[in-house]
């Protein structure tokens, strides 16, 4: 169990689920378009996009969760949470970004009944506005479903 008190979280929607990210892991939330695909890349790598003068590796959150979703359309505008992982810049595509909120209270361990993809990425559960939210770790999303495939 991870104890947290009055931490900031980014509330977003991923694969139809309302989820929370620890906001300390998120550099910013940006709109990205014109994704350059990475042929033969892992499925959860949607491609590359430019963030100002830097290159962002775009992660499809759905594919990273092992969900059978079509790849993000390279031509449309997506919301992405920008995270830095081992010196590289990633943009995790989310369906919708709600807000950055303060949630106090402890992170509960994940209940059973989630798919392996969710279970791998989720750090735990927390309660917000009377609703249980999954707390997702960005590092696991960036790593993709390779671990579960091994």
């Amino acid at each position: 169990m991870i104890e947290t008190m009055d931490q900031l979280y980014l509330i977003a929607r991923v694969a139809g689920q309302r989820v929370a990210f620890p906001s300390a892991e998120i550099d910013s939330v940006v709109e990205i378009e014109a994704i350059t695909p990475v042929p033969r890349g892992p499925r959860h790598i949607a491609g590359l996009a430019a963030l100002r003068s830097r290159v962002l590796t775009v992660i499809s959150a759905e594919a990273a969760l092992g969900l059978d979703a079509p790849p993000p359309d390279p031509a449309t505008v997506h919301h992405a949470a920008v995270v830095t992982c081992e010196g590289h810049l990633y943009g995790v595509i989310v369906e919708e970004v709600e807000d950055v909120v303060t949630i106090s209270g402890a992170v509960q361990p994940l209940r059973s009944g989630f798919g392996s993809g969710w279970a791998r990425v989720a750090l735990g559960m927390m309660e917000y506005e009377g609703e249980a939210l999954l707390l997702l770790g960005t590092a696991a999303l960036v790593a993709g479903p390779l671990a579960s495939a091994a």
Binding site: A34, T36, V38, P39, R40, V55, H88
Partner: protein, 783 residues
Amino acid sequence: MDELLGEFIAETRETLGPLVGEVVAWEAAPGDRARLDAIFRFVHTVKGSCGFLDLPRLERLSHAAEGALAEVREGRRTPDGVLVSAVLAIIDRIGEMVEALDAGEAFPEGGDDALILALEPGQDHPVSTAHAHAHAPAPAAAPAPAVARAAARSIRLPVDLLDRMMGGVSDLVLARNELSRRLRDAGHAGHVDAAFERLSGCIAEMREAITRTRMQRIENLFSALPRMVRDLGHELGKPVSLLVEGEDVELDREMIEMIRDPLTHIVRNAVDHGLESAEERARAGKPATGALRVTARQAGNQILIDIADDGRGVDSDRLVAKAVAAGILTVAEAQALPEARKLSLMFEPGLSTASAVTAISGRGVGMDIVRANIERIGGVVELASRPRVGTRLTLRVPLTLTIIPALTITAGGQDFALPRAAIDEIVRVSPKGARLEHVGDATVAVIRDRRLPVLALGEVLGLGGGDGGHPSTLVVLRPSGGQPFALGVDMVHDHEELVIKPAAPAVMATGLYAGTTLPDSGRPMLLLDPGGIAAVGGVALDIGAVAAPVAEGPVEETIRTLLFRDLDGADRAVRLGMVERIEDVPGDAVRLSGGRVRLAHKGRIIPVLGRDVPTDGRKLRVLMMSDGAAELAYAIAEVTDIVHLGRDIVPTALPGPVAGVVLVDGRQVELLDPHWLFATVLDARAPAERPLCLLLDGADRWTREVLRPLVESAGYRVALEGEADPAEARVIIAGSERAAPDGLPAPVVRLREHPERHGADDRTIYRYDREGLMAALRAGTGA
């Protein structure tokens, strides 16, 4: 040397600040290995730099501190307050001396011994830094840094800042591009365009300048080596000759900084431990002077720096023994260790093969730091060594972070960049460029005299698109250390200088890419790794079979062609394969009969073709041609050359003796049509089959070149006046200007040059009245 000294001062000053904090923190937690290592590295680096900058006092101080700290590192000594104070005192003294150096002042003599003594274990009295200072003469004890520092001629910038500037300029370029689009949409205004052009120029210039600030010739790194090696050699009594190559290789500034220390360590090690003493070399039968060679080169997407000596080589058994003694290996593990692994023990922390610790390089520090530094920038250190022959260390540093010349291409609808260093040539799939052959599943490109396996990039990348089996352009790649192959792409665009950044690990894991780049379009682009593409595409497989040189036979890209000056003075050419011999034949062997010139040659009668072949008994030079069955001779003036021609032949519109026109050194040359030549000859042997049309104005170009093919296409064989007996002719064609020859046995068709008739009884036919002309000819053939 001034520059080196300046750099040393700046660097030392820069490291000193945070270091004092490290020492204090280390005192609080003596078990903190990372802090100890940081302090150790500092004094080690200072010692190393002082060695070749000829700063003996600084060197002595840092060597002493290093010695004490090494004991702590090896666990032979426990750090206490006394030691920490002593180390601090030395670090302070180093700082003061460096400031004095920078100000160009002499640092007062004395005081060093006390500081060094304080490092000795078992010192009863803690030596406070103040105490140490007290020994030094007053003026030097606390020089006021702000006053003492001289004005700097150059400034040190964090690469971060350069990166940000680079980023800013890239943004500027993107904004410029957008503005350019908007301006285009809005329609042009002269004065706005001019201003915009100026802005563009400024941005381009700025981009170039900032790009350059990040690039440095590796010369900057190598220039310190000769002096360093010379001084080391002197000190150790070893004559050393240093050969430095590849100074013009350009590296990202950051890379140069990262390589500087490792390279220094390696070179020092090579001179100190790698090379034997002159006496030892003499005993081993080697020249007294040791050879050290430092070379840099770009290979594919890496920069390789070799440091090779011809010394004694690495004693791997001794390394293993040390590793066992240090508890790194068990005896059993040591016995099972392959030779290559034994050598790599050199990179283990705390191991050194030198039996004597010297002031130059000797505590087994260095190599682990070398490896750590190189690996931190994504590089690799390779060690090759042969006992008694020498040692070679290779630093492989990735191209990423550097600016590389690249070629941008399109495949499967996506743009990619290829490192230009790996590109041999670019060839279009065309008759004169490359030909594709399909061997089973594989495609092979035939480019001049070599055959290369073809990989369609779109297919390798799983993009489909394009025409996989029939790419329009081939980029011949030679991956570093690999076999060449031809990469089929849909389109080739520009040569560009691109700033390459490492791609995310998951992208690199595909093995296909060497990095990412952000070109002016603002859309990220992937840099392809030629070696990776070859591996993924399976080129490495049956390469031997397909990469073989082109075999004899039908596979032939260029046409060996004989150039000659024809009898009419024109330059013409014929495929050499058709020519059996070139012969001079006596004039009396050539006869005109039945409208044909024939040559009596070696018991056979051979038809002679050519332009206005003289039959007046002059000696004749002929090309003897054969189609395997029939023979003919083509009369020429002289042979001029034999050349390889491409297949780029512009065919003539109508059949005739000339198949087409080719370019030879910029001149148009008519290539003879062997088919037509032989057809003419064989036809002539069976004159009954085709009626003869006699053209009376054979000297007229129009008659020869325009009329003749038309007449032939109407089913006649054609003879010019004098070539055939008029009695044989079914039809005779003559110009209207010419007086009508009398007593001709055949109907005469007369042609006029102008459309208008001359009076009602004008029976002539306008020469471009195709219908009328054909009708007259049909009457003759009975068609």
